[in-house]
Amino acid sequence: MDNDQLIEQARLLRMHTIKAIYNATSGHPGGCMSIADILAVLYFDEMTLDPAEPSGRERDRFVLSKGHACPALYVALAMRGFFPMEDAYSLRKLNGYLEGHPDVRIPGVDAVSGSLGMGLSQGIGMALGARHQGLNYRSYVLVGDGDLQEGNTWEGMMLAPFQKLDNIVVIYDANKLQGDAPVSEQLDMGDVSERARAFGWNVIDIDGHDIASIKEALTQARNTKGQPTFIHADTIKGKGVSFMENVLYWHGSVAIKDEELAGAMSELGA
């Protein structure tokens, strides 16, 4: 898909996500908006997927380690045809099947998450399993700031380079705000790219909202052999809805009010 088309997919993804969270009356809009461009590239350009066979053995795998951003994932899956968009609008409801955090019972969801820090390891297992069986699929893991504060993640950060896993890519959504406060106040992680490099990763720093850069980084990752790739995506929490951008409140879990929905829709061109 060309860049303009991907930009349009990202816009639609943001729009549907805000509507879904509005319907749910709770959710985490800020961290959904920060990953919308990344998801658009992954789901409409990078990954090999077949909505008719959501558990296909050779499909590419995606792990949303920052599981609280699942409204955006559900919307991406709906846009790709894994289930109707109206289902994505029923998330977090008793009569729906779209859980408040990712659940493998949902078509297209490859891993459970929501307890931070477990996603990278699951992606590593998928990558190890592919290598063991000579399968060519790739494993994509999207982590957030909170994931990198969990020790489990760093166990995985050690293993993947040691095992020379080149079929796994980590994309770090560095949106700089966490649940209660800015990352810099809770547990500043310093130069994450330098740390990842020290652990042995092929590190690529990008603007996480620039479609061309995201595509280029994923291509570089694909061409890097014998080493896993860590894409440090500099992002803005709430990106695309001006009143949500860089505002801690919109980490969530929050209900979106009618007038806020109207404002967001108008900004997103709905």
Binding site: R105, S115, G117, S121, Q122, A130, H132, N152, M158, L159
Partner: protein
């Protein structure tokens, strides 16, 4: 081609760790749909013969059990069956959330096989003596929990576990334990095995306590007490019918496990009886305390989980009738 599985002779003393090593090699030769995940303790769990002979079937994680457990979920997603092996304190406690959420909630076909549980650990002491593993594993939905009584039963159970679809937690005993079953041994998940008939009291035992319970039944017989002995190798799903029958037919139950008396086999049996057939129960196990260093054959007497402890519990149970 797979060779015939070689069983030990009844009456020999064999560590279940040796059975783990032997059955891994056997299952490794028989089928290539599974891999072993290890966290630098193959020498301790008994997996060493397999890691040496079939290194291409081993995924090594170093001492990082959380990563290993969550990765097992991903390995299962790839279509392989991960057999995750470490010490019980690390596999069931350090990596408990990864097992609960990434594996069990994730509907992954992962087999967690842990050694070093109970006082059976011996000199390593309380840190390594997992006394809570049956309780914590049992509380997780959809998981099967198995604690074999001897080396032959362990090997049969392991094959049944590989055939079973779904997450399983399996205990691997450490110390040399009497072989109770003739080979070839069969194993059905969820089916208790009545090893001795009796109508005065029923001892429901698991793991290393099965042999001690048989010993206890012999002692009781000399005193004119007929104790039924049931090997409850599957803690979950529990064989409710066997438990209910024991309560109806003998009127007194003693549970025996190398585990805390809270939440393990005793808890499972008590839950079953409370719901279906109220009966008096005496619990043989570790009484809400930590273990300590000592030899595996010294500690049971100190903590009251030797054959004498079972005998005493049976007498208490009968006296309460």
């Amino acid at each position: 081609m797979a060779e015939e599985l070689e069983y030990w002779a009844k009456g020999e003393d064999v560590s279940l760790r040796d059975a783990f090593g032997r059955v891994l090699l056997h299952a490794g030769a028989m089928r290539d749909d599974w891999v072993l995940l290890d966290a630098d303790v193959a020498g301790g769990t008994g997996a060493k013969p397999f890691t040496q002979d079939m290194p291409e079937r081993v995924m090594q994680f170093g001492i990082a059990e959380q990563n290993m457990m969550a990765a097992a979920s991903g390995v299962a997603d790839s279509g392989l069956i991960p057999v995750v092996s470490t010490f019980a304190a690390f596999g069931t406690m350090r990596a408990h959330e990864q097992f609960r959420t990434a594996v069990c909630y994730g509907q992954r076909n992962v087999k967690l096989c842990c050694s070093h549980h109970g006082l059976d650990v011996g000199p390593d002491g309380a840190t390594a003596q997992a006394l809570e593993d049956l309780a914590t594993m049992r509380a997780i939905p959809d998981v099967t929990v198995i604690s074999p009584a001897d080396a032959n039963e362990f090997m049969a159970a392991f094959h049944a576990v590989l055939d079973h679809i779904g997450p399983v937690y399996m205990r691997i005993g450490r110390s040399a334990t009497p072989v109770l079953y003739d080979g070839p041994t069969s194993f059905t998940i969820g089916k208790a095995d009545r090893l001795r008939e009796g109508d005065d009291v029923t001892i429901i035992a698991t793991g290393v306590m099965v042999a001690r319970s048989l010993q206890a039944a012999e002692t009781l017989k000399a005193e004119g007490i007929n104790a039924r002995v049931v090997n409850m190798a599957t803690i979950k799903p529990l064989d409710n019918a066997e438990v209910i029958a024991a309560a109806r037919e003998t009127g007194a139950i003693v549970t025996a496990e190398d585990h805390s008396i809270i939440g393990g086999l005793g808890g499972a049996v008590a839950e079953c009886l409370a719901a279906h057939q109220p009966a008096l129960v005496e619990f043989v196990g570790i009484k809400d305390e930590f273990g300590k260093s000592g030899e595996h054959d010294e500690l049971p007497a100190l903590f009251g989980i030797d054959a004498a402890g079972v005998v005493a519990a049976c007498k208490r149970a009968i006296a309460r009738k």
